[in-house]
Amino acid sequence: MPVENPRILTKNYDTPNAWTIEAYERAGGYQSLRKAVELGPEKIREEVKAANLRGRGGAGFAAGVKWSFLKVTPGKPNYIAVNADEGEPGTFKDRTLMEKDPHRCVEGFIISAYALDVHTVFVFVRGELVLAIKRLEQAVREARAKGYLGDTVLGRPFKLDIVVHAGGGAYICGEETSLLNALEGLRGEPRLKPPFPAVIGAFGAPTIVNNLETLATVPTIVDLGGDAFSRLSRLHHLRDGGVRLYGVSGHVNRPGVYEAPVGITLRELIEDFGGGVRGGRKLKAVIPGGSSTPVLREEDIVNAPDEKHPLHAWHGKSHLDVPMGVDTMRALGTMLGTCCAIVMDDTTSMVRVAENLMLFYAHESCGQCTPCREGCAWMARLCRKFADGTATKVDLDTLGDVANNIMGNTICALGDGAAMPMLGILKLFRNEFEAAVGKPVPRIGEGAAS
């Protein structure tokens, strides 16, 4: 059975000039907003809760629950900060929403602001994404001219401004508290939590930080109703609702961004959407949701004979046949992350993969915490030694130790996000590191099938 490919979030992706307000309205755009203002804030928040909308930014926290944490003090401002900093290696979904359907994003921001009684929305976009910034700015201008925001929202006395804010180029600014510091004009160094942003966020005010896709999904939730939206998911029973954007890149025939229900399997993503492994080669490993999520292999089998185990329903099946959900992936020992998979074929050296990834984290660590600052650079140096053939057996133990000493000892999750994939690769592909002692490893693209 081919995998479902609903066109909800991606409805307008192939429409010519879809980013103009004319095209968006012709396709029924801003009707959800009309419905939303009729429903009123409280009802919208209930629908979002019922939608089981898990955050699309990586951690998978339920948006409806997060919204209920917003600390409201009458007379004091609250903010929404939209996280459009998309920087996790392998992740390229939010950019498509901003470039191809910016009005859907803007409509989502307006409804969310209305639901939370927020009067300023800051959209923090990666500075590199010039076209996305341009399209969003244009969409905000057009929406203002049409009376969807500004001094009133559809004629109601609700003042709302949406401010598109370009970042300065730093992966760490995707971390929510780093994003807030960058927005405030500081170095993008993460803050200690608690306090969480919903209590003390941007400019000292309670702030909801949500991923761009999370908020771009809100118009659909209003349109369909929360429960109906949630039921589009294959994991509705696990309170992981709706449809979402998937990405697939690396060694597949048809890399790209695809829309599907929550809970399709990695095999479906790779085969049905990605068109299978390039050149008919064998799959070696797949990173399920951005570089910080530990790798999976096809040959690993779910071992969950206990009926109470969250993965019992998939006992005896390959890891690739477990549905991709926030809780199912966690139970597998990895994470759903951004739901954008990186596929590697059997020519790929996992030592080289680790080297590539650790260089990324070494470059992007903000440097505040010693375990992350020193550890990421150390892991990168060690991986390079294995790649060059200059590593010793002792280096292998050191590599594991360094990763283990980062885990849980840092201010933000970047440190763990570097250590987890390193430990994951060491666990599944230790033999490749052992074989690399004293023997250089072919570069990616220059290797033979192993």
Binding site: P77, I133, G169, A170, H251, M344
Partner: protein, 179 residues
């Protein structure tokens, strides 16, 4: 000579200021505006931004050094960022980077002798499904092959009214024009 924003760019700043609760919040946007005009962040720019936003120059300098998009040295008329991260490496980024170095006659991190191009390596630019890829000024070029590079570089060379200062613009004049 002391740095001053043009009136056109100053108008953008004036429009943005009331949208934020603090002046400091304008640090990143204002640096982008200044870089669009000056080409890179000179010490005069740092002084100007500090004065405009009532900050110390150390504050501003600290921000400039944190982010990759602020150039602290003069760069070429065109700036190339070629992605080196995993999805792109799996699809051939290394070959593209070498081809660029060869065609430009400079290494990653350097500017060509004629000042036309600066070549940088980028960390993932959110185009992983279209790798290998690079950003040239504010445009993305995807699914690259070494053969495709000649036409792209030639077009950039021919585009004489461009300088990176005005072509890379996440907030400045080009971004704000209707388009």
């Amino acid at each position: 000579m002391a740095f001053e924003l043009t009136t056109e760019r100053l108008a953008i700043l004036e429009e943005l200021l009331p949208k934020y609760p603090t002046k400091r919040a304008l640090t990143l946007p204002l640096l982008h505006l200044c870089q669009e005009q000056a080409g890179h962040i000179t010490s005069d720019v740092v002084t100007y931004v500090a004065k405009k936003l009532e900050l110390s120059t150390a504050d501003v300098q600290g921000v400039v050094t944190f982010y990759t998009l602020y150039q602290q040295k003069k760069v070429g008329r065109n700036v190339i960022w070629v992605c080196r991260t995993l999805s792109c490496e799996l699809t051939g980024a290394r070959g593209i980077t070498h081809a660029l170095e060869k065609k430009l006659g400079c290494h990653v991190g350097e500017t060509t002798a004629d000042g036309e191009f600066t070549l940088f390596q980028a960390e993932c630019l959110a185009a992983c499904g279209q790798g290998p890829m690079m950003q040239l000024n504010d445009e993305y070029f995807e699914n690259l092959t070494p053969e495709k590079l000649d036409a792209i570089l030639d077009a950039a060379r021919r585009n004489k009214d461009a300088s990176c200062a005005v072509t890379f613009s996440p907030i400045g004049l080009r971004t704000r024009k209707q388009g």
